[in-house]
């Protein structure tokens, strides 16, 4: 660490070091090198060990993919189950419609609610208000934190009802579910969800009052787009550029590459480079598909139909939480219990593609199945891996504006910017290390 009492001008190089970035999911570090007052290098280093899930899947039965891949993440297991189911079903040539499809959307609502609310209240809001953590924030904003905890629990309750338990659901299968709920079981959620709509609106209006840095970048947003729905499970992959492709064309348009400083592969759009997935991309590409209330609240929070300030992702997460609560109520109101909890999924050789909207953005799966359904090849591209280049680009844009800040203040701002993406480093391959190297004799070697 540099000597805080040393005049800035006397330095040639500055290093800021954050050994472990807290309040992100997974283990990573940030390295920032500044020479003679100019930013020279930014690296988001992910040292979470690679977990080889794609290799682990080879030789397993096609029906096992949802349960194996759910283990990739404890925060967004539903996303892994959904992408796996859709990809395997695509390979088998079956489609899941009607109430089973609706129940999948409902399960996803639960995951978005619990994941978004955890991030907004426990991980990100403290950054904006200058609190070291949610615990410190709770002493001054106890009512809001309590509201967040209750909201999160409602999301978890949906997951527990449909998934069999809150973390790593066990009730999802290729073709549908092992058990589907009775109408009255879902009805029990209505009172809580009605409260949750109001709470999510209140949360959105509150986070909209937080101080936002004036920071916009020229992003290429990528998200699913469905003709009629705000996207969870289905749609075409579109971008704020010219992209408009079927999910099966993903690997023709996106590449993964290994970089030395990260155990997570970096994604890039062929010929175009970095791109941005997650709530801001979904919102900006699908505003018209939000409910009237969610649109109204977004406008009341000062957002337009697109939003280019990544710090405002905290507002968009609240808008998406409101949407998820409303969507859950809509699904419950029209639910008719299907006669069978799943459609048959007999083994069939082929290749299948799936992409769904995890809380953090698009999650792509591709499987190759042998005649007996054995998985012979698998490819999984999680959202955080796709956002790595964009996170680094944000820091390249941000750090030069804040060079006058002390190392600790600069580190704070960098961490806040990284948390705009709610990065799930475990998924991409739990602490982030930050090194800011400003050079000079006082710098750490």
């Amino acid at each position: 660490m540099t000597d805080a009492n040393m005049p800035r001008t006397a330095r040639t190089t500055r290093t800021i070091r954050c050994d472990y970035l807290a309040r992100v999911e997974g283990e990573g570090a940030l390295y920032v090198r500044i020479r003679d007052g100019c930013l020279q290098d930014v690296k988001l280093k992910i040292f979470e060990p690679p977990r080889f899930f794609e290799a682990l899947l080879r030789g397993r039965r096609h029906l096992e993919a949802p349960d194996i891949t759910a283990r990739i993440c404890g925060i967004c297991p539903v996303a892994y189950q959904m992408s796996a189911c859709h990809a395997i079903e695509n390979a088998l040539g079956i489609t899941v419609g009607g109430p089973l499809r609706e129940l999948r959307r409902l399960l996803y609502c639960g995951e978005w609610i619990e994941s978004h609310v955890l991030h907004v209240f426990m991980l990100h809001a403290p950054d904006f208000l200058g609190y070291e953590s949610a615990i410190h924030m709770a002493r001054d904003h106890g009512d809001l934190v309590q509201m967040g905890l209750r909201l999160k629990k409602i999301g978890n309750d949906i997951g527990a009802l449909l998934g069999g338990r809150e973390i790593h659901p066990i009730n999802v299968r290729v073709g549908g579910f092992y058990r589907v709920p009775e109408r009255r079981e879902l009805q029990r959620l209505v009172e809580d969800l009605t409260w949750a709509c109001d709470a999510a609106e209140k949360a959105a209006r509150w986070v909209a009052t937080l101080p936002f840095p004036d920071f916009e970048q020229d992003y290429e947003y990528v998200a699913l787009r469905h003709p009629a729905e705000y996207p969870f499970n289905e749609g075409r992959l579109v971008s704020s550029g010219a992209l408009d492709i079927a999910v099966s064309e993903y690997e023709q348009c996106f590449v993964e590459e290994h970089v030395a400083h990260s155990n997570a592969l970096h994604s890039a759009m062929r010929g175009r480079g970095a791109y941005f997935v997650g709530p801001l991309a979904r919102y900006s590409l699908n505003f018209a598909r939000l409910t009237a209330r969610a649109q109204h609240v977004a406008r009341a929070c000062g957002l337009g139909e697109t939003c280019w300030n990544p710090f405002q992702s905290i507002i968009v997460r609240c808008i998406e939480t409101l949407y998820a609560c409303e969507e859950a109520l809509r699904i419950i109101a029209s639910y008719e219990r299907p006669e069978r909890p799943f459609v048959d999924a007999p083994a069939f050789p082929g290749r299948g593609f799936g992409c769904t909207e995890a809380p953090r953005g698009i999650l792509y799966h591709r499987y190759q199945l042998a005649d007996d359904g054995t998985i012979t090849d698998a490819r999984i591209v999680p959202p955080t891996a796709q956002n790595q280049k964009t996170i680094e680009n944000d820091l390249r844009g941000l750090v030069p504006r804040y060079l006058d800040l002390s190392d600790s203040e600069l580190q704070w701002r960098c961490e806040q910017a990284i948390r705009n993406y709610d990065p799930c480093i475990s998924c991409a391959t739990h602490f982030l290390r930050l090194d800011v190297d400003r050079g000079g004799a006082a710098a750490v070697p």
Binding site: E25, G74, L118, M122, L123, I135, L149, E166, I167, H430
Partner: protein, 169 residues
């Protein structure tokens, strides 16, 4: 898993075993919870993966909460630790390293900040030897199960006695 008394009223005594059965000594809390559920029918026993928000809702309204978890410490594997969270903040980094950003220690401190802590909250920990993949406890940690069960039974008995002499039923 939930066993023991159930009903609408919060339990007087709640034991929560925290851990992951697939990560070696991290399964300690679950093993202890299972043994207690069989031997202490008057106590509510639950297991948890360590998600902080879920823990907070589990212990809401309970009078005495006992959490059993594996801990990281410099002590020899199998060493038992008793941390009285009601008395003050837990030592930083004492609890098991969690993949979740919001775990046991955070839940306790957040509860304290919000004024929703149970009247008594005690954490019983064991120093783990291995947290690698696998379902077996290491021998020193397995040997610590029996002594901890006795400690917890004694603690529950003392509380029950205190409640009875204070006129509770």
């Amino acid at each position: 898993m939930t066993s023991g008394r159930c009903g609408s009223e919060p339990p007087a005594v709640l034991v929560i075993g925290v851990g992951n059965a697939w990560r070696g000594d991290d399964g300690f809390g679950l093993v202890v919870a299972e043994a207690l559920a069989d031997s202490l029918p008057e106590v509510a026993v639950k297991t948890a993966s360590g998600d902080g928000a879920a823990l907070m809702s589990e212990w809401e309204g309970a009078e005495l909460v006992i959490i059993v978890d594996a801990v990281r410490s410099g002590a020899a594997p199998g060493t038992l630790h008793r941390l009285d969270a009601s008395a003050g903040p837990l030592p930083p980094d004492s609890l098991r390293c969690s993949s979740h950003a919001f775990g046991v220690a955070e839940a306790i401190e957040l509860s304290r900040a919000l004024g929703t802590m149970p009247r008594r909250l005690v954490v019983h920990g064991v120093s783990g030897q291995t947290f690698a993949a696998g379902t077996d406890l290491s021998p020193p940690v397995r040997d610590a199960v029996g002594p901890l069960l006795k400690r917890i039974r004694d603690e529950v008995a003392a509380l029950t006695l205190a409640r009875e002499s204070a006129g509770h039923r």
